[in-house]
Amino acid sequence: MITRRECVAPGFWCVGFRAPRIAGAVRAAQYVAIDQPGRFAVRLPLGIWTAEGDEITVLFREWGERTAQLAHSDIGTAVDLIGPLGNDFTIPARGARATIVAGGLGVVPFWLLGKRLLAADVQTRVVLGARTAALLVGAAELRALGLNVELCTDDGTAGTRGSVLDALDSEPPADIVYGCGPPNMLRALSKRCVAANMPCEISMEETFGCSMGTCWGCVVPVRRGAKQGSGYPKAHAESRDFDYSRVCFDGTVYAAADLVWSA
Protein backbone atom coordinates (compact mmCIF):
# COMPACT_ATOMS: atom_id res chain seq x y z
CA MET A 1 0.00 0.00 0.00
CA ILE A 2 1.25 3.46 -0.88
CA THR A 3 1.98 5.37 2.33
CA ARG A 4 3.44 8.56 0.94
CA ARG A 5 4.21 10.36 -2.26
CA GLU A 6 6.32 13.43 -2.65
CA CYS A 7 7.63 15.33 -5.64
CA VAL A 8 11.25 15.90 -4.58
CA ALA A 9 12.28 17.85 -7.70
CA PRO A 10 10.50 18.50 -10.99
CA GLY A 11 9.86 15.04 -12.45
CA PHE A 12 11.44 13.24 -9.47
CA TRP A 13 9.33 11.41 -6.94
CA CYS A 14 9.72 9.66 -3.65
CA VAL A 15 6.97 7.11 -2.97
CA GLY A 16 6.63 5.03 0.19
CA PHE A 17 5.04 1.63 0.62
CA ARG A 18 4.00 -0.29 3.71
CA ALA A 19 6.01 -3.47 3.22
CA PRO A 20 7.17 -4.87 6.56
CA ARG A 21 8.78 -8.04 5.21
CA ILE A 22 10.79 -6.17 2.57
CA ALA A 23 11.70 -3.33 4.94
CA GLY A 24 13.00 -5.90 7.44
CA ALA A 25 15.08 -7.88 4.96
CA VAL A 26 16.41 -5.35 2.47
CA ARG A 27 20.10 -4.71 1.87
CA ALA A 28 21.72 -1.93 -0.17
CA ALA A 29 21.33 -2.16 -3.98
CA GLN A 30 18.32 -4.42 -3.81
CA TYR A 31 15.18 -3.58 -5.69
CA VAL A 32 11.48 -4.28 -5.84
CA ALA A 33 9.50 -5.38 -8.91
CA ILE A 34 6.19 -3.54 -8.96
CA ASP A 35 3.04 -4.82 -10.62
CA GLN A 36 0.64 -2.06 -11.53
CA PRO A 37 -2.95 -2.05 -12.64
CA GLY A 38 -3.28 -1.23 -16.31
CA ARG A 39 -2.05 -2.80 -19.45
CA PHE A 40 1.57 -3.30 -18.50
CA ALA A 41 2.89 -6.70 -19.42
CA VAL A 42 5.91 -6.61 -17.12
CA ARG A 43 6.74 -5.33 -13.64
CA LEU A 44 8.56 -2.06 -13.02
CA PRO A 45 11.91 -2.54 -11.25
CA LEU A 46 12.90 0.24 -8.86
CA GLY A 47 15.81 0.34 -6.45
CA ILE A 48 14.93 0.58 -2.78
CA TRP A 49 15.90 4.00 -1.43
CA THR A 50 15.12 4.01 2.29
CA ALA A 51 13.76 1.39 4.69
CA GLU A 52 12.58 2.36 8.13
CA GLY A 53 10.15 0.51 10.35
CA ASP A 54 7.48 -1.07 8.15
CA GLU A 55 8.07 1.29 5.26
CA ILE A 56 10.30 1.32 2.21
CA THR A 57 10.59 4.17 -0.24
CA VAL A 58 11.61 4.39 -3.86
CA LEU A 59 13.11 7.46 -5.50
CA PHE A 60 12.54 7.74 -9.21
CA ARG A 61 12.10 9.89 -12.21
CA GLU A 62 9.02 9.96 -14.43
CA TRP A 63 10.56 8.10 -17.34
CA GLY A 64 7.66 6.56 -19.19
CA GLU A 65 4.20 5.21 -18.53
CA ARG A 66 4.82 2.96 -15.58
CA THR A 67 6.78 5.50 -13.55
CA ALA A 68 4.26 8.20 -14.48
CA GLN A 69 1.41 6.07 -13.24
CA LEU A 70 3.20 5.32 -9.98
CA ALA A 71 4.04 8.98 -9.49
CA HIS A 72 0.37 9.86 -9.76
CA SER A 73 -1.09 7.04 -7.68
CA ASP A 74 -2.93 7.99 -4.56
CA ILE A 75 -1.84 7.28 -1.05
CA GLY A 76 -3.68 4.18 0.08
CA THR A 77 -3.50 2.47 -3.32
CA ALA A 78 -2.70 -1.22 -2.99
CA VAL A 79 0.47 -2.17 -4.85
CA ASP A 80 1.82 -5.63 -5.54
CA LEU A 81 5.56 -5.74 -4.80
CA ILE A 82 8.00 -8.60 -5.19
CA GLY A 83 11.26 -8.15 -3.31
CA PRO A 84 13.77 -7.50 -2.07
CA LEU A 85 15.49 -8.82 -5.20
CA GLY A 86 19.13 -8.84 -6.25
CA ASN A 87 22.46 -9.19 -4.42
CA ASP A 88 24.18 -6.48 -2.38
CA PHE A 89 27.50 -4.73 -1.77
CA THR A 90 30.45 -6.09 0.20
CA ILE A 91 30.97 -4.36 3.54
CA PRO A 92 34.64 -3.86 4.46
CA ALA A 93 36.16 -4.31 7.90
CA ARG A 94 35.75 -1.75 10.66
CA GLY A 95 37.92 1.30 10.19
CA ALA A 96 38.32 0.86 6.45
CA ARG A 97 37.83 3.84 4.15
CA ALA A 98 35.09 3.71 1.49
CA THR A 99 34.16 6.07 -1.32
CA ILE A 100 30.68 6.15 -2.78
CA VAL A 101 30.36 7.63 -6.26
CA ALA A 102 26.87 8.30 -7.58
CA GLY A 103 25.59 9.95 -10.73
CA GLY A 104 22.04 11.32 -10.68
CA LEU A 105 19.55 8.66 -9.63
CA GLY A 106 22.55 6.40 -9.07
CA VAL A 107 22.23 7.72 -5.52
CA VAL A 108 19.40 5.27 -4.83
CA PRO A 109 21.38 2.32 -3.41
CA PHE A 110 23.45 4.56 -1.17
CA TRP A 111 21.06 5.51 1.60
CA LEU A 112 20.96 1.89 2.73
CA LEU A 113 24.67 1.40 2.05
CA GLY A 114 25.64 4.62 3.81
CA LYS A 115 23.65 3.65 6.85
CA ARG A 116 25.24 0.23 6.90
CA LEU A 117 28.78 1.62 6.50
CA LEU A 118 28.23 4.10 9.30
CA ALA A 119 27.02 1.28 11.53
CA ALA A 120 30.11 -0.73 10.57
CA ASP A 121 32.41 2.16 11.44
CA VAL A 122 33.65 2.52 7.90
CA GLN A 123 34.96 6.01 7.08
CA THR A 124 32.69 6.94 4.20
CA ARG A 125 33.09 9.64 1.63
CA VAL A 126 30.16 10.32 -0.75
CA VAL A 127 30.52 12.07 -4.08
CA LEU A 128 27.26 12.90 -5.80
CA GLY A 129 27.30 14.26 -9.34
CA ALA A 130 24.91 15.19 -12.09
CA ARG A 131 24.82 17.14 -15.31
CA THR A 132 23.13 20.03 -13.62
CA ALA A 133 21.74 21.00 -10.21
CA ALA A 134 18.14 20.09 -11.13
CA LEU A 135 19.15 16.45 -11.51
CA LEU A 136 20.85 16.17 -8.12
CA VAL A 137 18.59 14.38 -5.66
CA GLY A 138 19.03 12.57 -2.35
CA ALA A 139 21.87 14.59 -0.83
CA ALA A 140 19.79 15.88 2.07
CA GLU A 141 18.68 12.40 3.08
CA LEU A 142 22.25 11.09 2.99
CA ARG A 143 23.46 14.02 5.09
CA ALA A 144 20.64 13.39 7.53
CA LEU A 145 22.17 9.94 8.09
CA GLY A 146 25.37 11.69 9.13
CA LEU A 147 27.27 11.17 5.89
CA ASN A 148 29.62 13.72 4.45
CA VAL A 149 28.36 14.44 0.92
CA GLU A 150 30.34 16.29 -1.77
CA LEU A 151 28.40 17.58 -4.75
CA CYS A 152 29.55 18.26 -8.28
CA THR A 153 27.84 19.18 -11.53
CA ASP A 154 29.09 19.28 -15.10
CA ASP A 155 27.84 22.84 -15.46
CA GLY A 156 28.82 24.07 -12.01
CA THR A 157 25.23 24.90 -11.01
CA ALA A 158 25.75 23.05 -7.71
CA GLY A 159 28.88 21.99 -5.82
CA THR A 160 32.18 21.76 -7.65
CA ARG A 161 32.17 22.09 -11.43
CA GLY A 162 33.27 18.85 -13.00
CA SER A 163 32.59 15.13 -12.98
CA VAL A 164 32.48 12.81 -10.01
CA LEU A 165 35.69 11.32 -11.33
CA ASP A 166 37.52 14.62 -11.08
CA ALA A 167 36.48 14.70 -7.45
CA LEU A 168 38.17 11.34 -6.91
CA ASP A 169 41.55 12.85 -7.73
CA SER A 170 41.35 15.22 -4.81
CA GLU A 171 41.78 12.66 -2.04
CA PRO A 172 43.88 9.59 -1.28
CA PRO A 173 42.49 6.28 -2.60
CA ALA A 174 39.96 4.38 -0.52
CA ASP A 175 39.92 0.70 0.43
CA ILE A 176 36.75 0.21 -1.58
CA VAL A 177 34.81 2.25 -4.10
CA TYR A 178 31.08 1.85 -4.77
CA GLY A 179 29.52 3.19 -7.93
CA CYS A 180 26.07 3.61 -9.44
CA GLY A 181 24.90 5.93 -12.20
CA PRO A 182 24.90 6.40 -15.96
CA PRO A 183 26.86 3.89 -18.09
CA ASN A 184 29.56 6.33 -19.20
CA MET A 185 30.35 7.29 -15.64
CA LEU A 186 30.41 3.66 -14.52
CA ARG A 187 32.69 2.65 -17.34
CA ALA A 188 35.17 5.40 -16.52
CA LEU A 189 35.02 4.72 -12.79
CA SER A 190 35.38 1.03 -13.31
CA LYS A 191 38.37 1.31 -15.62
CA ARG A 192 40.08 3.72 -13.32
CA CYS A 193 39.67 1.53 -10.24
CA VAL A 194 40.73 -1.60 -12.10
CA ALA A 195 43.82 0.19 -13.43
CA ALA A 196 44.63 1.42 -9.92
CA ASN A 197 43.94 -2.03 -8.50
CA MET A 198 41.38 -0.53 -6.18
CA PRO A 199 38.44 -2.78 -5.14
CA CYS A 200 35.34 -1.38 -6.75
CA GLU A 201 31.74 -2.56 -6.83
CA ILE A 202 29.22 -1.32 -9.33
CA SER A 203 25.44 -1.57 -9.22
CA MET A 204 24.36 -2.02 -12.85
CA GLU A 205 21.10 -1.27 -14.62
CA GLU A 206 19.57 -2.74 -17.79
CA THR A 207 16.04 -2.85 -19.18
CA PHE A 208 14.28 -5.73 -17.41
CA GLY A 209 11.71 -8.18 -18.65
CA CYS A 210 10.87 -10.74 -15.97
CA SER A 211 12.92 -9.27 -13.08
CA MET A 212 13.35 -12.86 -11.91
CA GLY A 213 16.22 -14.39 -13.79
CA THR A 214 14.19 -16.39 -16.25
CA CYS A 215 14.03 -14.41 -19.48
CA TRP A 216 17.69 -13.46 -19.98
CA GLY A 217 16.59 -10.05 -21.13
CA CYS A 218 18.73 -7.96 -18.78
CA VAL A 219 22.24 -9.20 -19.35
CA VAL A 220 25.57 -7.39 -19.10
CA PRO A 221 28.85 -8.77 -20.39
CA VAL A 222 31.23 -10.11 -17.78
CA ARG A 223 34.61 -11.73 -17.99
CA ARG A 224 34.42 -15.42 -18.85
CA GLY A 225 34.73 -17.34 -15.61
CA ALA A 226 33.20 -14.58 -13.48
CA LYS A 227 31.06 -16.26 -10.85
CA GLN A 228 28.03 -14.20 -11.87
CA GLY A 229 28.23 -15.29 -15.52
CA SER A 230 25.99 -17.89 -17.14
CA GLY A 231 28.76 -20.43 -16.97
CA TYR A 232 27.85 -21.54 -20.48
CA PRO A 233 30.77 -22.64 -22.64
CA LYS A 234 32.22 -20.25 -25.19
CA ALA A 235 30.21 -20.20 -28.38
CA HIS A 236 32.37 -21.42 -31.26
CA ALA A 237 30.97 -18.88 -33.66
CA GLU A 238 31.68 -15.95 -31.38
CA SER A 239 34.93 -14.12 -31.94
CA ARG A 240 34.68 -12.03 -28.76
CA ASP A 241 35.21 -13.85 -25.52
CA PHE A 242 32.99 -12.84 -22.66
CA ASP A 243 30.00 -14.24 -20.84
CA TYR A 244 26.63 -12.69 -20.04
CA SER A 245 25.23 -12.19 -16.57
CA ARG A 246 21.65 -11.37 -15.60
CA VAL A 247 21.55 -8.05 -13.79
CA CYS A 248 18.18 -8.87 -12.19
CA PHE A 249 19.23 -12.16 -10.68
CA ASP A 250 23.03 -12.39 -10.61
CA GLY A 251 23.43 -8.63 -9.94
CA THR A 252 22.81 -5.83 -9.68
CA VAL A 253 26.21 -5.53 -7.95
CA TYR A 254 29.36 -6.57 -9.81
CA ALA A 255 33.06 -6.33 -9.03
CA ALA A 256 34.40 -3.75 -11.47
CA ALA A 257 37.07 -6.27 -12.43
CA ASP A 258 34.40 -8.68 -13.67
CA LEU A 259 32.66 -6.23 -15.97
CA VAL A 260 33.50 -6.11 -19.66
CA TRP A 261 32.87 -2.69 -21.16
CA SER A 262 33.99 -3.20 -24.72
CA ALA A 263 31.56 -5.98 -25.65
Binding site: D35, R39, F40, A41, V42, R43, G64, R66, I82, E206, T207, F208, G209, C210, S211, M212, G213, T214, C215, W216, G217, C218, V219, V220, S230, G231, Y232, P233, K234, A235, H236, A237, E238, F242, D243, Y244, F249, A263
Partner: protein, 318 residues
Protein backbone atom coordinates in the same frame (compact mmCIF):
# COMPACT_ATOMS: atom_id res chain seq x y z
CA UNK B 1 -26.97 -27.95 -17.32
CA UNK B 2 -26.09 -28.78 -13.75
CA UNK B 3 -23.09 -27.33 -12.04
CA UNK B 4 -20.74 -30.06 -11.03
CA UNK B 5 -18.51 -30.07 -8.00
CA UNK B 6 -14.98 -29.05 -8.89
CA UNK B 7 -13.52 -32.28 -7.56
CA UNK B 8 -15.50 -34.30 -10.04
CA UNK B 9 -14.07 -32.52 -13.10
CA UNK B 10 -11.22 -34.23 -14.94
CA UNK B 11 -8.57 -31.49 -15.38
CA UNK B 12 -6.14 -33.53 -17.49
CA UNK B 13 -5.17 -33.38 -21.12
CA UNK B 14 -3.05 -35.33 -23.59
CA UNK B 15 -0.26 -34.34 -25.92
CA UNK B 16 0.24 -37.40 -28.10
CA UNK B 17 0.71 -40.32 -25.74
CA UNK B 18 1.68 -38.12 -22.80
CA UNK B 19 -0.91 -37.15 -20.24
CA UNK B 20 -0.59 -33.82 -18.42
CA UNK B 21 -2.21 -33.29 -15.03
CA UNK B 22 -3.81 -30.05 -16.23
CA UNK B 23 -4.18 -27.81 -19.29
CA UNK B 24 -1.64 -25.18 -18.34
CA UNK B 25 1.93 -25.21 -19.64
CA UNK B 26 4.75 -22.74 -19.04
CA UNK B 27 5.83 -21.36 -22.43
CA UNK B 28 9.41 -21.82 -23.57
CA UNK B 29 11.86 -19.08 -22.69
CA UNK B 30 9.81 -17.66 -19.84
CA UNK B 31 10.49 -20.17 -17.14
CA UNK B 32 14.13 -21.11 -17.55
CA UNK B 33 14.67 -24.37 -15.73
CA UNK B 34 12.14 -23.54 -13.09
CA UNK B 35 14.87 -23.12 -10.50
CA UNK B 36 14.63 -19.33 -10.34
CA UNK B 37 10.85 -19.24 -10.20
CA UNK B 38 11.01 -21.76 -7.39
CA UNK B 39 11.91 -18.83 -5.15
CA UNK B 40 8.58 -17.13 -5.53
CA UNK B 41 6.12 -19.65 -6.85
CA UNK B 42 5.11 -23.24 -7.09
CA UNK B 43 6.18 -24.89 -10.36
CA UNK B 44 3.89 -27.81 -9.62
CA UNK B 45 0.80 -25.74 -10.42
CA UNK B 46 1.73 -26.21 -14.08
CA UNK B 47 0.66 -29.28 -16.04
CA UNK B 48 4.08 -29.02 -17.68
CA UNK B 49 6.87 -26.54 -18.04
CA UNK B 50 8.63 -26.04 -21.35
CA UNK B 51 12.37 -25.49 -21.14
CA UNK B 52 14.14 -22.61 -22.84
CA UNK B 53 15.04 -23.80 -26.34
CA UNK B 54 18.36 -25.64 -26.54
CA UNK B 55 20.65 -25.45 -29.57
CA UNK B 56 23.48 -27.71 -30.70
CA UNK B 57 26.24 -25.17 -30.06
CA UNK B 58 26.46 -22.79 -27.14
CA UNK B 59 25.17 -19.33 -28.02
CA UNK B 60 25.97 -15.97 -26.50
CA UNK B 61 22.72 -14.53 -27.84
CA UNK B 62 22.05 -10.96 -28.88
CA UNK B 63 23.59 -7.78 -27.58
CA UNK B 64 21.79 -5.35 -25.30
CA UNK B 65 19.21 -4.06 -24.93
CA UNK B 66 17.28 -7.25 -25.43
CA UNK B 67 13.87 -6.25 -24.11
CA UNK B 68 11.52 -3.27 -24.14
CA UNK B 69 8.06 -2.87 -22.65
CA UNK B 70 5.46 -2.26 -25.38
CA UNK B 71 1.76 -1.35 -25.11
CA UNK B 72 0.18 -4.34 -23.34
CA UNK B 73 3.20 -6.37 -24.33
CA UNK B 74 6.91 -6.99 -24.28
CA UNK B 75 9.37 -6.86 -27.17
CA UNK B 76 12.26 -9.26 -26.80
CA UNK B 77 15.27 -10.33 -28.77
CA UNK B 78 17.24 -12.68 -26.56
CA UNK B 79 18.75 -14.55 -29.49
CA UNK B 80 18.64 -18.03 -28.00
CA UNK B 81 21.40 -17.48 -25.47
CA UNK B 82 22.13 -20.93 -24.18
CA UNK B 83 24.69 -23.54 -23.16
CA UNK B 84 24.39 -25.87 -26.15
CA UNK B 85 23.26 -29.47 -25.86
CA UNK B 86 26.55 -30.84 -24.49
CA UNK B 87 26.66 -28.53 -21.49
CA UNK B 88 22.89 -28.81 -21.04
CA UNK B 89 23.08 -32.60 -20.74
CA UNK B 90 25.98 -32.41 -18.33
CA UNK B 91 24.79 -29.59 -16.07
CA UNK B 92 21.06 -29.01 -16.44
CA UNK B 93 19.54 -32.35 -17.36
CA UNK B 94 20.41 -33.99 -14.02
CA UNK B 95 18.25 -31.39 -12.27
CA UNK B 96 15.21 -32.25 -14.37
CA UNK B 97 14.22 -35.04 -12.01
CA UNK B 98 13.75 -32.44 -9.26
CA UNK B 99 11.15 -30.50 -11.25
CA UNK B 100 7.75 -30.99 -9.58
CA UNK B 101 5.83 -31.37 -12.83
CA UNK B 102 6.18 -32.74 -16.35
CA UNK B 103 8.79 -31.17 -18.61
CA UNK B 104 8.65 -30.39 -22.31
CA UNK B 105 12.09 -30.03 -23.86
CA UNK B 106 12.42 -27.35 -26.52
CA UNK B 107 14.85 -27.60 -29.40
CA UNK B 108 16.00 -24.85 -31.75
CA UNK B 109 18.32 -25.33 -34.67
CA UNK B 110 19.74 -23.85 -37.81
CA UNK B 111 19.58 -26.93 -40.00
CA UNK B 112 17.39 -30.00 -40.18
CA UNK B 113 20.29 -32.11 -38.99
CA UNK B 114 20.82 -29.92 -35.93
CA UNK B 115 17.19 -30.24 -34.90
CA UNK B 116 17.35 -34.00 -35.26
CA UNK B 117 20.61 -34.26 -33.38
CA UNK B 118 19.59 -32.14 -30.41
CA UNK B 119 16.12 -33.69 -30.20
CA UNK B 120 17.55 -37.18 -30.22
CA UNK B 121 19.78 -36.33 -27.28
CA UNK B 122 16.81 -34.88 -25.35
CA UNK B 123 14.74 -38.03 -25.82
CA UNK B 124 14.40 -39.98 -22.62
CA UNK B 125 15.63 -37.38 -20.14
CA UNK B 126 14.06 -37.57 -16.68
CA UNK B 127 10.56 -36.07 -16.45
CA UNK B 128 10.57 -35.05 -20.12
CA UNK B 129 7.24 -36.00 -21.71
CA UNK B 130 7.45 -34.28 -25.10
CA UNK B 131 9.83 -32.40 -27.38
CA UNK B 132 8.85 -29.06 -28.81
CA UNK B 133 10.54 -27.81 -31.98
CA UNK B 134 11.07 -24.05 -32.00
CA UNK B 135 10.98 -23.82 -35.79
CA UNK B 136 9.59 -20.33 -35.47
CA UNK B 137 11.88 -18.27 -33.30
CA UNK B 138 11.80 -14.88 -34.99
CA UNK B 139 14.87 -13.45 -33.33
CA UNK B 140 17.69 -15.35 -34.80
CA UNK B 141 19.21 -14.35 -38.07
CA UNK B 142 18.87 -17.33 -40.33
CA UNK B 143 19.84 -17.55 -43.96
CA UNK B 144 16.58 -16.65 -45.64
CA UNK B 145 13.23 -17.20 -43.95
CA UNK B 146 12.74 -19.17 -40.77
CA UNK B 147 11.72 -22.81 -41.03
CA UNK B 148 8.15 -22.21 -39.88
CA UNK B 149 7.48 -19.69 -42.65
CA UNK B 150 7.39 -22.53 -45.11
CA UNK B 151 5.39 -25.80 -45.11
CA UNK B 152 8.18 -27.86 -46.68
CA UNK B 153 10.94 -26.85 -44.30
CA UNK B 154 8.62 -27.27 -41.33
CA UNK B 155 7.81 -30.75 -42.53
CA UNK B 156 11.49 -31.54 -43.11
CA UNK B 157 12.35 -30.71 -39.52
CA UNK B 158 9.42 -32.66 -38.07
CA UNK B 159 10.15 -35.72 -40.20
CA UNK B 160 13.83 -35.76 -39.31
CA UNK B 161 13.10 -35.45 -35.62
CA UNK B 162 10.33 -38.05 -35.62
CA UNK B 163 12.76 -40.52 -37.12
CA UNK B 164 15.06 -40.11 -34.12
CA UNK B 165 12.83 -39.77 -31.04
CA UNK B 166 10.18 -41.78 -29.24
CA UNK B 167 8.59 -38.94 -27.27
CA UNK B 168 5.67 -36.97 -28.73
CA UNK B 169 6.90 -34.15 -30.97
CA UNK B 170 5.32 -30.69 -30.95
CA UNK B 171 5.91 -28.28 -33.85
CA UNK B 172 5.81 -24.68 -32.61
CA UNK B 173 4.51 -22.39 -35.34
CA UNK B 174 4.90 -18.71 -36.01
CA UNK B 175 2.11 -16.20 -36.66
CA UNK B 176 4.39 -14.28 -39.02
CA UNK B 177 3.02 -15.92 -42.14
CA UNK B 178 0.35 -15.18 -44.69
CA UNK B 179 -1.55 -18.36 -43.84
CA UNK B 180 -0.83 -20.69 -40.93
CA UNK B 181 -3.09 -23.52 -42.12
CA UNK B 182 -0.85 -25.11 -44.79
CA UNK B 183 2.05 -25.00 -42.34
CA UNK B 184 0.03 -26.69 -39.63
CA UNK B 185 -1.07 -29.33 -42.11
CA UNK B 186 2.50 -29.90 -43.25
CA UNK B 187 3.60 -30.46 -39.66
CA UNK B 188 0.75 -32.92 -39.12
CA UNK B 189 1.47 -34.85 -42.31
CA UNK B 190 5.13 -35.06 -41.38
CA UNK B 191 4.13 -36.84 -38.19
CA UNK B 192 3.97 -34.11 -35.53
CA UNK B 193 2.01 -35.30 -32.51
CA UNK B 194 0.87 -31.77 -31.69
CA UNK B 195 1.39 -28.19 -32.75
CA UNK B 196 1.84 -25.19 -30.54
CA UNK B 197 1.21 -21.59 -31.47
CA UNK B 198 1.84 -18.76 -31.46
CA UNK B 199 5.44 -17.83 -31.03
CA UNK B 200 6.18 -14.11 -30.71
CA UNK B 201 4.96 -11.68 -33.38
CA UNK B 202 7.73 -9.81 -35.20
CA UNK B 203 8.03 -6.17 -34.22
CA UNK B 204 10.46 -3.40 -33.41
CA UNK B 205 10.72 -0.03 -31.70
CA UNK B 206 12.88 2.97 -32.50
CA UNK B 207 14.67 4.77 -29.71
CA UNK B 208 13.71 8.27 -30.73
CA UNK B 209 16.23 9.91 -28.42
CA UNK B 210 19.17 8.14 -30.03
CA UNK B 211 17.56 7.73 -33.45
CA UNK B 212 18.30 4.04 -33.73
CA UNK B 213 16.48 0.77 -33.18
CA UNK B 214 15.85 0.15 -29.50
CA UNK B 215 16.86 -3.50 -29.57
CA UNK B 216 20.46 -4.36 -30.36
CA UNK B 217 19.04 -6.99 -32.70
CA UNK B 218 16.91 -4.33 -34.48
CA UNK B 219 13.76 -6.43 -34.54
CA UNK B 220 12.31 -8.66 -31.87
CA UNK B 221 9.29 -10.66 -30.88
CA UNK B 222 6.17 -9.11 -29.39
CA UNK B 223 4.46 -11.12 -26.64
CA UNK B 224 1.85 -10.52 -23.94
CA UNK B 225 -1.82 -9.44 -24.05
CA UNK B 226 -1.29 -7.23 -27.11
CA UNK B 227 -1.00 -10.30 -29.31
CA UNK B 228 -3.88 -12.30 -27.86
CA UNK B 229 -6.41 -11.61 -30.65
CA UNK B 230 -3.77 -12.64 -33.21
CA UNK B 231 -3.08 -15.82 -31.28
CA UNK B 232 -6.72 -16.80 -30.80
CA UNK B 233 -7.28 -16.49 -34.54
CA UNK B 234 -4.19 -18.58 -35.32
CA UNK B 235 -5.43 -21.34 -33.01
CA UNK B 236 -8.96 -21.09 -34.43
CA UNK B 237 -7.64 -21.53 -37.98
CA UNK B 238 -5.15 -24.27 -37.13
CA UNK B 239 -7.90 -26.14 -35.27
CA UNK B 240 -9.86 -26.28 -38.50
CA UNK B 241 -6.85 -27.51 -40.43
CA UNK B 242 -5.42 -30.35 -38.31
CA UNK B 243 -6.68 -33.17 -36.10
CA UNK B 244 -3.67 -33.35 -33.77
CA UNK B 245 -3.84 -31.51 -30.44
CA UNK B 246 -3.00 -27.84 -30.35
CA UNK B 247 -1.23 -25.97 -27.55
CA UNK B 248 -2.51 -22.40 -27.70
CA UNK B 249 -0.61 -19.41 -26.37
CA UNK B 250 -0.12 -15.69 -26.74
CA UNK B 251 -1.10 -13.14 -24.13
CA UNK B 252 -2.90 -15.38 -21.66
CA UNK B 253 -3.19 -13.69 -18.25
CA UNK B 254 -6.48 -15.00 -16.85
CA UNK B 255 -8.76 -17.99 -16.93
CA UNK B 256 -11.05 -16.12 -19.30
CA UNK B 257 -8.18 -15.59 -21.72
CA UNK B 258 -7.22 -19.26 -21.57
CA UNK B 259 -10.82 -20.28 -22.15
CA UNK B 260 -10.85 -18.34 -25.42
CA UNK B 261 -8.05 -20.58 -26.67
CA UNK B 262 -9.66 -23.78 -25.41
CA UNK B 263 -13.03 -22.95 -26.96
CA UNK B 264 -11.23 -22.10 -30.21
CA UNK B 265 -9.69 -25.55 -30.22
CA UNK B 266 -6.64 -25.74 -27.95
CA UNK B 267 -6.10 -28.97 -26.02
CA UNK B 268 -3.71 -27.13 -23.72
CA UNK B 269 -2.59 -23.54 -23.22
CA UNK B 270 0.82 -22.08 -22.52
CA UNK B 271 1.68 -18.98 -20.55
CA UNK B 272 4.83 -16.96 -21.08
CA UNK B 273 4.96 -13.25 -20.38
CA UNK B 274 2.19 -13.30 -17.75
CA UNK B 275 4.51 -15.21 -15.41
CA UNK B 276 6.56 -12.03 -15.19
CA UNK B 277 3.65 -10.11 -13.70
CA UNK B 278 1.99 -12.83 -11.73
CA UNK B 279 4.08 -15.79 -10.60
CA UNK B 280 0.87 -17.53 -9.47
CA UNK B 281 -0.83 -17.30 -12.83
CA UNK B 282 -0.69 -21.06 -13.52
CA UNK B 283 -2.88 -22.09 -10.58
CA UNK B 284 -5.32 -19.29 -11.27
CA UNK B 285 -5.76 -20.31 -14.91
CA UNK B 286 -5.90 -24.05 -14.22
CA UNK B 287 -8.60 -23.55 -11.57
CA UNK B 288 -10.60 -21.26 -13.82
CA UNK B 289 -10.68 -23.86 -16.59
CA UNK B 290 -12.03 -26.45 -14.17
CA UNK B 291 -14.64 -23.95 -13.01
CA UNK B 292 -15.63 -23.25 -16.60
CA UNK B 293 -16.24 -26.96 -17.18
CA UNK B 294 -18.19 -27.22 -13.93
CA UNK B 295 -20.42 -24.27 -14.77
CA UNK B 296 -21.30 -25.90 -18.05
CA UNK B 297 -22.08 -29.24 -16.46
CA UNK B 298 -19.17 -30.98 -18.16
CA UNK B 299 -17.15 -33.70 -16.50
CA UNK B 300 -13.79 -32.71 -17.98
CA UNK B 301 -11.95 -29.63 -19.15
CA UNK B 302 -11.27 -31.57 -22.33
CA UNK B 303 -14.96 -31.45 -23.19
CA UNK B 304 -14.60 -27.70 -23.70
CA UNK B 305 -11.99 -28.06 -26.44
CA UNK B 306 -13.11 -26.54 -29.73
CA UNK B 307 -16.69 -26.03 -28.61
CA UNK B 308 -16.91 -22.50 -30.07
CA UNK B 309 -15.40 -23.64 -33.36
CA UNK B 310 -17.99 -25.31 -35.63
CA UNK B 311 -15.29 -26.49 -38.05
CA UNK B 312 -13.02 -27.88 -35.33
CA UNK B 313 -11.16 -30.75 -36.95
CA UNK B 314 -9.82 -32.46 -33.83
CA UNK B 315 -11.55 -35.11 -31.78
CA UNK B 316 -14.30 -33.82 -29.54
CA UNK B 317 -14.64 -35.34 -26.10
CA UNK B 318 -18.37 -34.82 -26.09
Amino acid sequence: MTELARERIDPTTRIGKSELKNFVIAASGCYNRGAEFGRVTDVSAYGAITLKSVTLQPRLGNGMPRVLPAPAGLLNAIGLQGPGIEHFLAHDAPHLREVQTAVIASVAGFSVAEFAEVAARMDGLPNVVAIELDVSCPNVDREGECFAANPESTADVVRAVKARVRLPVIAKLTPNVTDVKPIARAAESAGADAISLINAVRGMAIDVARSQPWLANVSGGLTGPAIRPIAVLAVWEAAQAVRIPIIGMGGIETGRDALEFVLAGASAVAIGTANFRNPDVAALVADALVDAAAERGLTSVRALVGSANPSFAGERSH
